[in-house]
Amino acid sequence: MDEEQTAGYREPCGVCSAVDWGVSDEGRFYCRSCHNVIERTREVVDPTFTPGSSRISTIGRGTRTKRPERGRQWVICEGFQFILRNQANALLKLGVSPRFKDEVLCQLWRIYLQKSRQAYTNNPVRTATFKVRGQDSDSDSAAEMSVLSASETDGDTNASSTAGSIAGSSSDWSQCSGSLDAASYLSARLRRSRHGLMSMKKTLALLHLALVWIQEPLTLSDLLRLVNEGHVPYVNAYEELPEEMKLKGKDALIFRVESVPSHRAVHKEAQTLILFLQLPAFPPISQQSLLHPALLSLRYLMDANLPDDLHPWVCRVMECAGMADQALHTFNRLLRPVLPRYDLQTAALIIVTMKLVFGLDDHTEWDLSNEAADQDATGNAFSVRRWFRLVQTALTSAQRRREQHVARKQWTARKPLHPNSKKKCVVMKRKRIAEQLQICFEKLSSRPAGAEQDAPSSFRFCWGDGDGADGPSMHQQQLDAAVTLQRDVLTPSNSTYWHPSLRACKPRKCRSHYSAVEDTLPRSFVWLLRLFCFLLDVPPESLYEETLRTERRLTGHRRRRNREEEEGEERGTGRKRRKRRGKREEQGGRGGRGGGREKNREDVSMVTGVVTWNDHESEDEDAERTKTVWSDLGAANGR
């Protein structure tokens, strides 16, 4: 009982040096061997206590000499280290490979400390008298990282021993609280002289990099979802710091979190970080890797309740767009210094495939559904209409659930942090009032505040016949109506493919044009976009841009070059390109048909009349290109 109450308070008694604490009836701590009573008291939490209803007031007699709480000296990066450790432990608990923490994240963290000259360096960044490590190791190169197998981040190391080793001797229990270097950390931040300093957002970026390194099938959107749902500590993560590490004053500015950063923001951060760390080439992400679109798309198809039969088509589109190559998906500082966005790329591939097979121009997909309904003898043909109705219902209720989750989410910390210590009592008072109101309404509604934690899952939806499923599964259904066998080659019956203007934007000046063109896009396409945006929890702009990027790849490089030239001309004449949306239709070639060539040309020249592209020549080439895509596709499925 006492053991619980003393909450592992393990300091030796000041009189007899024994560590044997008990708690008296008044809640005070006393030494059981010498009966010395110390200042420390057990905090009694009584939620039913309501100050103000009792009529007791105390008149203070000046300030009592306050003895500051004991804390040890610590630096900001130690705090982040603990937070990272907690995050990594949470991920391990969720089933991430055990190599993740010690072999990958820990190494990355060490590289980070070294590169940002916060540790493992002869030339530390701080001017503070505080020394990070007694030994000045010769750890200049990344190759020697593995030599340092110190177990700082390992779970079994307890905090006080680390404290001892870092502070040098245990007599250094200082009277100060708060981190040592918050002020210098912040001023350095302000100067923006280096981007290397740690931030809460960067912890997520670091986790993401580590996850990519060991090829865990956790994409960035998955990670952010786990963070959002509270399975990985992020909001108020500082509360889990060891007791001796007191946060105070400016620490609040560094550790307090008011948002879970967006997909885009973390990706950007990770991209900067990866360059900052100068990491060697990542292990190649082959087709067998779960991060590769080839396998990731399977998961997304399942989550969207699309038939498995679509997967070969996705793979073909991927190959035609040149996205099967593992080099494209593997970060390499020298060859490909861009961190791929696996989740967005895969979703874009699926969207392009859907457009290819079903048209998604607000006509073709419904016609195909009608045909599917007509021909359907076995009841096993995939119909876009049925799928849309099913998923739309589930999507609406899932969106409502998510909204409720957002509304119920509690952000405030148990131990509020405020940069201004003078205002601390105000903050504490507000906190108390808020808590009591919350308790009052919790009692009234007999439902606890805060969002319910669902069990973590890779899937947003659950399709099947079981309890709690969002609807019947359509995974086994066949694409009979949408895909026909022509000359022993499976070919989509849909023969047209539309896409918006594919001109590349100026990389820095232009932002997404999605909001401008959204109203002109076919509704079914926008709906599909929004479905995947919901699955990945990204704004539609990002996915739209990614889809365009995939379409650009699909139509080839030469086209892009032409477009750039054209854009240069356009800019000269001052035409607004964003207004012009080229909804162009290309006549897809019938795969493997010999005599189709002439007809294609005719069709295309006919179509180019309504197309906004200027150069007919490139149009033809485009058609040619698309045709080859089709024939490739057909060949792939015919085999």
Partner: protein, 423 residues
Amino acid sequence: MDDLQRELLEDLDDDSDSSDGNSSKGSKKSKLPLVNPMCAETPKETGFHQSTRVCLEQIREALLHHRWQEAAEYMACYPQMLEDPTNGTGQPYKELIWRISTEILHHHPNSKMEDYNNIYERMKHSGVRHYLMICLEHSFHLLLIGHIEDAKHQLSVAESWRHGKESAAQYQRIKLIHAYRSLLDYIIWCDKKFTRSNTEYPDSGDNQDMHNYFRQASVNLKEILKNPGVWDPFILSYVEMLEFYEDHEEALKVLNDYAYDSTFPPNPNAHVYLYQYLKRHDTSERKLMKVLKILHVLVPSHELMLEYSSLLLQSEKRSDIQKALGVVMEMLDFACWRSNLDVWERLKSIIQKLQLQEDWKDVVSGQMAARKDWWPALHFTSFHASKDSEENPELMKVKAPLTKILCPDLMLKYTASQVTSGE
């Protein structure tokens, strides 16, 4: 240093979502006054603010649809708004939380008095600005469920509350608190009076007790009633107590001040109370008529005008009969008296008395001159005839002969078939 921190905070905010294109960015700002800017989504919103905004929207929806249970559930999640780390926006939310919370408590089936007490106490102490208002509301709620002593206690606490400089608004509220506290004294006084009248031998202790309440209330009320304003219920209770202790001078003075002090807003009730008081104490008719004359100017359609006209009718002066005619006809200008039998009968008796004078026709036509073109439409159409004959034949009998006298040169349709047959 503060600038530094602000910049830092902005810097930290920047990290959040700045790069996500926002479709609402381009939309123009409306020039119309926004109903509730508190709920607006801002382009750079932190997750915390998003949560509280969405939560408030959910509460609002639930309240509008009377889903009190759901509202209470979300309300449990909302108080974190009070801990908003960005400073300076706390105030409106406190009021919001206070009002929404009590609204939910009013309707939730499981709400108990202790919940009310809890919420009121919490919100009172969350800031100084609403302290007095919440105290007042709290005591109103206690009154509503009959806890008069508790309500009085609340007000006494509020009375003794001081915080820094009293702003103008708080000064007004303190006066209100004083007034209501005295009103509660009066209510308790009434209770004591009632129990005393029921017991056969009231002992002096009870009397003393009762008198204490009177004294407490009167001291405050006397002060309060000096302030210009509309104090109707307070005046009534004060006068009642004064009457009970037979302090007629003071009572009359209070009522006179209330009615005739020009700094007070014009208040017909003040004259009504004065009239009723004077009438209770058998004052002369002249004085009564004087009060009613002023009331007549303020509210010509007041129901006391019937009494005024009867007083005028009883007087001996000739001009008073003409005045009475004017008063009653002015009453009939108002649609609310249109089918009132008493008023028409009064008009009839006035005209009958007037007819004793020689120039009565001139007097009547003088009064009717301005009404000639619209009274027929207001009172004497065939529709009125059929309606009156159906609903109120008595009225028909009074009204019909009067038409001839009031509008002798007009052919009115009020004298419809039934009436002519009656003649």
